[in-house]
Amino acid sequence: MRSGNSCRGLMLAVLTVFPAVTLADGSVVDKVYHPYVEQLEWELEWRAVQEHNPPGSAAQRQATHRVGLGRAVSEFVFAEAYLVGREGSDSGFTIDAWELEALWQLSEQGEYLLDYGLLFELEKYRHEEIWEYSTTLLLERELGRFSATANLGVIYEWGDDIEDEFETAAALQARYRHSPLLEPALELYLGEDTRALGPMLLGMARLGSRQALRWEAGVVWGLDATTADYTLRAVLEYEF
């Protein structure tokens, strides 16, 4: 692939930057991204993360919902826009942010030792002057029926209502491709206020020609006092 060699230098540069920044604060439990784009695909997505007893919050439960519409804009680039809503056990649901993201597939699947891609995300809170931008390196390796995926992100937060800072976040997933409908996985999330590990179930049901429903559901448990006791995570994606 044309961009393959230049990407190796980029990977090195991103990894070199990592030790110079702090880990991400707040929960970093979310979706684990895979470094692939399916050309011509549209996607309607809902995903939710619900934290139970998150430290630093009076709420017993805190949930974040994302609804997004995405489209492959080329063979190797997928773009998606989200509305982000949040609710707590002591507050109602509000749509309080929007988010744009672009996933760039940088190698053909199976071409090199690792498949790799980049994810760019920009989030803006509606009622506060808070911006967040992240670049995440996506790596995946197929080992027989197992697939191992890593998301290594560098995040920059800025604005009048937040302290400007760089942060890092990591998410790791080991997945067993048992069948299209059922793939068990184990996920690990690492950030400044997140150390969480837990099982996931993933799957895909074909609804017809060029239509499929993908789903993910699971729970990760906090491994230290700075992480919520447990976090539920779910994704539904309608691909067409």
């Binding site: 070199t16 399916e38 050309q39 699947q109 090199y112 197929e142 069948s179």
Partner: protein, 110 residues
């Protein structure tokens, strides 16, 4: 000095990847009238291979196989590279998602 070592390592990795790619066996698969031709491709076991899929139709087709863990759209009148393996001996079916009733095939690993 450390940075120079990192770049040297990256260059060596790139060269190694290029050498590996140069040795990758290449197999050709055509799409005509919503059919995969040939229907069966025999490849060696425990060897990574490159499938060059050429779509002669004017409409797009998607090479899809859960068993091979691959999904790739090939636009009409274009071609795509799909890397598969190394695989254990066996039969790995694939199909065209745009025309699943006609576009079917299998990779036989021996």
């Amino acid at each position: 000095m450390k940075r120079a070592q990192q770049w040297a390592c990256a260059v060596l990795c790139g060269l190694a990847a290029a050498m590996v790619q140069a040795r990758t066996p290449v197999f050709e698969l055509e799409i005509r009238d919503h059919l995969f031709i040939p229907e069966e491709i025999v490849i060696p076991a425990n060897t990574k291979v490159k499938l060059v899929v050429i779509n002669h139709d004017v409409t797009p087709e998607e090479f899809e196989s859960y068993e091979l863990n691959r999904e790739k759209v090939i636009l009409g009148g274009s071609k795509a590279n799909i890397f598969i393996g190394p695989l254990a001996p066996g039969v790995y079916p694939f199909f065209g998602e745009f025309n699943p009733r006609t576009a079917q095939g299998r990779v036989v690993v021996e």
